[in-house]
Every structure is written in structure tokens, then in C-alpha cells.
Subunit: 337 residues, 2 copies
């Protein structure tokens, strides 16, 4: 029997909209022994993602809601410390659905990817080599169809996905302009994430005019993580046959009731747009190849990544709200103590 | 010098929204002689199209507004009666931009397609072999990517484009359900245009529920000519990776100011939709092939087409408004007297 003590951050109240600290509780208790076909994983780093809002809510979503009184669903990178699976050995690192907790007993289907040892830090598996980098890579290339010389606009450009989109656009030979919510982040993203120009949407009076000024010939690709007023303005700057990639809807805290906005159908028609939704979990089969390509870029210095690591599980309950307040600097990660 | 007398329906006032009879005037005057490199065409049939609303307005659109005091822009089929172009001979029929008038002096770039003689009536070149049939064919196949067994929903299913979409869906092996605005049209479209079921959107209380009842497994393709409340309901019935084809926006009489509606971005994201705009004039190079394929279907009896032919140019000024009131039965055509 294991003598290890587990610590978990459980979802104990159902949020409407953005999960706040009061929707979670810290729980301490024993760790179950892994059964036949199971792994015991000790988490090292936990991911904080905008998508967790949707997982915690019980609105109809693209995945089932997290049951109350269970560890919050999360991606994590951890070490296999006991293995009852022939294919896995103790000491190797894995990336997958291990939740907001110190220890996780899991079957191999919770593992998304084995960590390929490299000189990149272990936490990079939650950012550039994790869902964020892979999302940026697969959505931008798969749905954006970027061509050299094209103009790319990115919302949440300083964020965990957007920070990679600017750099991937530059690698292809596109010109990228980003949107973010503070002057500090704008300057940082312009200096570091491949953006030719940045717009602080909180300080402009007319967002459409600001986009047209930064992108005078319009946009061929709009990589959108926000929806809402930013998307309303952005789609009205698209060039003919532009591609809009809907990768998140962070601008709306709740979809009950459904918020209203200016109708897009005439823009879609007259500009011949192609507006597509991207959810990374449709693309599991492409993870290995995308991560390998991103690791090449990162090791060659073509892509940088930034992380804000919060030390200790006790930071997890407030972390999603922090993300939605835009207070993080780079990918928000919890280090497990 | 020509002794022929021309009759034209000119746009003489700028409409906002749907053009009404008072925006047009009948004009009678001489016909110019065709110069070098020009054709004199005698129009036989004139097309009435929803897109004429946009051409008559001066809102930003996908084509320049019709100048005031000139013949209303329109597609037509006519006979070459004088030719100063080596490649064209008198007596042949052509389809193109000849306007709402009896005679047209045109250069060959106004010709979209030569009429291939067949046992189909000449007016069929404005419907099944014209913009409507070609739009249905290229948009449905090009953007819809239909596969046998898929479910297709079509707005304005009894209309000039929708009547072909139902039949094309049936040819592929899809199940098609259509929306229309009267019980009579619903019955007609179900009997004649390949629809497995029809919904009269004017008589249902809950449009979403009516669609879910007629399409219990959801929709793989939504072919939309309306936008507005019908599109709002329809996109909420889409299956994962569904395709929405925006081919028109007939539900909104004016886009100044931009009307509002429930935001679609969360549906696009969570259902991984692909929402594309289609404008036929991007596809001129594909006209010949599409018309040839449609002629095959029509001659083999796999596609039927219906026309409502109004006798005489004097019917043209009220024809666009009639179309938007939904009073036509099949493709609305003006026969030139």
C-alpha cells in the first residue's frame, strides 16, 4: 500500500462563466495503488487553460463537464513512478490528462504523448510542445493555409497560443499584427513574438480603424481566440477569401443567454470568408509530428516561449480567473510542490 | 443607322434595401449601331435575381453599384443580330450581362457563355443552366463537400437556387430537408425538388425544434440563402465538422445599420463548423463545365426546373420586390416583348 499523500484541487461548486477560487477546494488524502494496466504518475507541472472554463461549466460543450467533487480536469506533465503497463517504465515523463493533483493513477489512454528528452525544460511540454504550441501550429497551418507575403491578425497575441502564432507566421513569411490588452504586453509581444505591429485594444477608441491602420491592405488570416467585439471589428477588415480561425471565445464570460452582436453573414458572403472552428482534441494523431516540428523550431532558436510558473497547488483555484483577467505573462503553469 | 427602337428599364432612384417600382423608369430611344469589336444583341429573356438588390444599392458590396439613369444590371439571354466580332456570328445565342433592355450593344467580355443548342428551352439558360443552377452546383459541391448519406438543410429551398440544391443533394445520395415560407411551396418542393421533408418557417413556433424534428441527427451541410433567424436556428443544429454555405442574405432587407443576432462564434468553435461565402462571379472559369453537367442532368430527367415568366419589360420594375416577397414560383424571368 502506498504511503504517499495526495493533494488535489477539486471542483466543488458549479460555476456559471469563469471559475473563481470559491468553486474549488483543496483536498488531501491517500493515493490509491495503481491496478493492473495502470500507471502511477507524479505530476510536476499542471496546465492552466482558457478551455477549463468550459469544462467546469455544465453548458453544452465539446466535452463533458467535470463532475463535482473530482479533481479539476487539466493537462499535466509528470513522471511515471510506478508502472503496471509493459510499455511504460518508471522514470519516464509523460504528458496527458492527469488533473490538478500531485499524484494520478491513470491508464495509458490518459497519456497524450511521451516526453521526448531534449535540452528544453520539462515545463515546455505544457507550452511550446504542449496544447498551446500544437494548437497554434495545427490551426494556423491546417485552417489558415498561410502563404508567404500574407497578412495575419491575431487576437490574444501575447497569450499562450497567440505568442506562437506570431512566430509561426513569421517563419512562413507572413506579416503578423497582434491584439492584446495592455501597452506592456503589446511592447513585449512586438519585441519577442514575431509581430510587426501590436494593438492595445483597451486604449483605442475605434478598433476597426486601429486594425485598418496597422493592416492597411486588410487581413488574409484572422486567428481568433476571443470572439466578441474584437472579432466583429476584425472580420470587417478581411481581404477577399480570407480565413478566420476560431480557436477560442474568451471575450464572452458566459453563453447563457447567448450574447448578441452584429450579424456576420454578409461579411462572410461578400468577402468570401472561410470561418472555421478548431479544437485541438480532434487532432491527436497529429500531435507527435507537430511537437517534433515545434521542438526543432525551439531548439534552433526560431521560436521562443514564455511561462509564468506559480509555485504550489494552492495557486490553482484562482488561476483560471487570473488568466481571464489577462494578468499572466506567457503560459500559466502550476508547479507541483 | 439602326431604325430599331430600344426599351430600357433604368435605375433612376437609389434604393435603400429592396428596390421597388418607384426606383426604376421605362425609357424608350434609339439603338446605337455596334462599333468595331462590338455585338448587337437582341434580348429574349431577362433574369430577376436577389443579388440585384445589392447592385442597386450603394452600400459597399461585392460589385460596384449600378450608376443612376442607366439600364438595370441584369443577366440575360439574347440573340446576336449584328456582329463586328469575328468570333461571333449573327443568329447565335449568348448569355451574359446585357441588362434590363430590349437591345444591348456589348463587347465580348459581357458574354459569360455561349448557348449550346439543345432540346432545353432558351429560357433554361437563365435558370438550370444559368447563374442559379451553376451557383447551386458549384457552391454545393465546392464548399459543401457532400458525401453519400449526409444530411443537408437548405433555406429558400423552393427558390431559384434552392430548388436545384435539393435535387443535387439527392443525386449525390444525401438526404435533403428544405425551408420555405408557405405550405403550398413546401408541398411543391417536396413533390418536385428532391426534398425528403420541408418546413414552412412561417407556421412553426420554434424553428430550431422544427429543424431538429425533421433532421433528428443534425445537419452536415446547411446551404443558406437567407441569413437571419433561419441561419441562427440552423447553425445550432449542425453536426460536428458541418459545412455552412453562405450563398445569400435575403432575410435582411438592409445592412445599414448592421442588424444584430445571437453570436455564432461559440457554435463555430464547438461544432468545428466551416462557414464559407460563395459568390458565383469568382467561378467564371468553371461555368462551361458546370453548365454541361447540369444540361446532362436536365436532359436525363434527373433535374427539373421551374420558371415564372412575366411577359413584357414593364414587369421588370416590380420584379425584385416580388422576389423578396416570396411570391414567385420558380425562377423569375422577364420575357422581352
Amino acid at each position: 500500500m502506498s504511503v504517499r499523500e495526495n493533494r488535489q484541487v477539486r471542483l466543488t461548486a458549479r460555476p456559471r462563466g469563469i471559475p473563481q477560487p470559491e468553486h474549488f477546494s483543496l483536498f488531501t488524502g491517500p493515493v490509491a495503488d495503481p491496478g493492473k494496466g495502470e500507471l502511477l504518475i507524479q505530476n510536476r507541472y499542471l496546465s492552466v487553460d482558457p478551455a477549463q472554463r468550459g469544462w467546469a461549466n455544465d453548458e453544452g460543450n465539446y466535452s463533458a463537464p467535470v463532475p463535482l467533487d473530482t479533481p479539476m480536469r487539466a493537462l499535466a506533465v509528470g513522471e511515471v513512478i510506478e508502472s503496471n503497463v509493459p510499455d511504460y517504465r518508471t522514470g519516464e515523463h509523460v504528458y496527458g490528462w492527469f488533473g490538478w493533483q500531485r499524484y494520478c493513477v491513470a491508464t495509458p489512454d490518459a497519456v497524450l504523448r511521451r516526453v521526448v528528452p531534449s535540452s528544453l525544460p520539462l515545463s515546455a511540454n505544457l507550452s511550446v510542445l504542449g496544447m498551446n504550441g500544437i494548437t497554434a501550429y495545427l490551426a494556423f497551418h491546417g485552417l489558415g493555409d498561410p502563404k508567404p507575403g500574407e497578412q495575419v491578425l491575431v487576437s490574444t497575441a501575447a497569450g499562450s497560443v497567440g505568442s506562437f502564432v506570431g512566430q509561426l507566421a513569421r517563419i512562413v513569411g507572413c506579416r503578423a499584427v497582434g491584439l492584446t490588452g495592455s501597452a506592456e504586453k503589446a511592447a513585449f509581444a512586438k519585441a519577442r513574438y514575431g509581430y510587426a505591429d501590436m494593438i492595445n485594444y483597451r486604449e483605442v477608441v475605434d478598433l476597426g480603424a486601429a486594425i485598418r491602420s496597422a493592416c492597411p491592405d486588410g487581413n488574409d488570416i484572422f486567428f481568433d481566440n476571443t470572439g466578441g467585439a474584437i472579432a466583429d471589428a476584425a472580420i470587417r477588415t478581411m481581404r477577399l477569401r480570407g480565413r478566420v480561425i476560431q480557436c477560442g471565445t474568451a471575450a464572452n464570460a458566459s453563453w447563457t443567454p447567448v450574447p448578441t452582436g452584429p450579424r456576420p453573414e454578409r461579411e462572410i458572403l461578400t468577402r468570401r470568408l472561410r470561418w472555421s472552428g478548431f479544437i485541438i482534441f480532434d487532432h491527436l494523431a497529429e500531435f507527435e509530428a507537430a511537437a517534433a516540428r515545434l521542438a526543432e523550431f525551439a531548439l534552433a532558436g526560431k521560436i521562443v516561449h514564455d511561462e509564468e510558473v506559480l509555485p504550489g497547488l494552492e495557486h490553482a483555484p484562482g488561476a483560471i480567473a487570473k488568466l481571464y483577467r489577462g494578468e499572466n505573462h506567457g503560459k500559466l503553469i502550476i508547479e507541483v510542490d
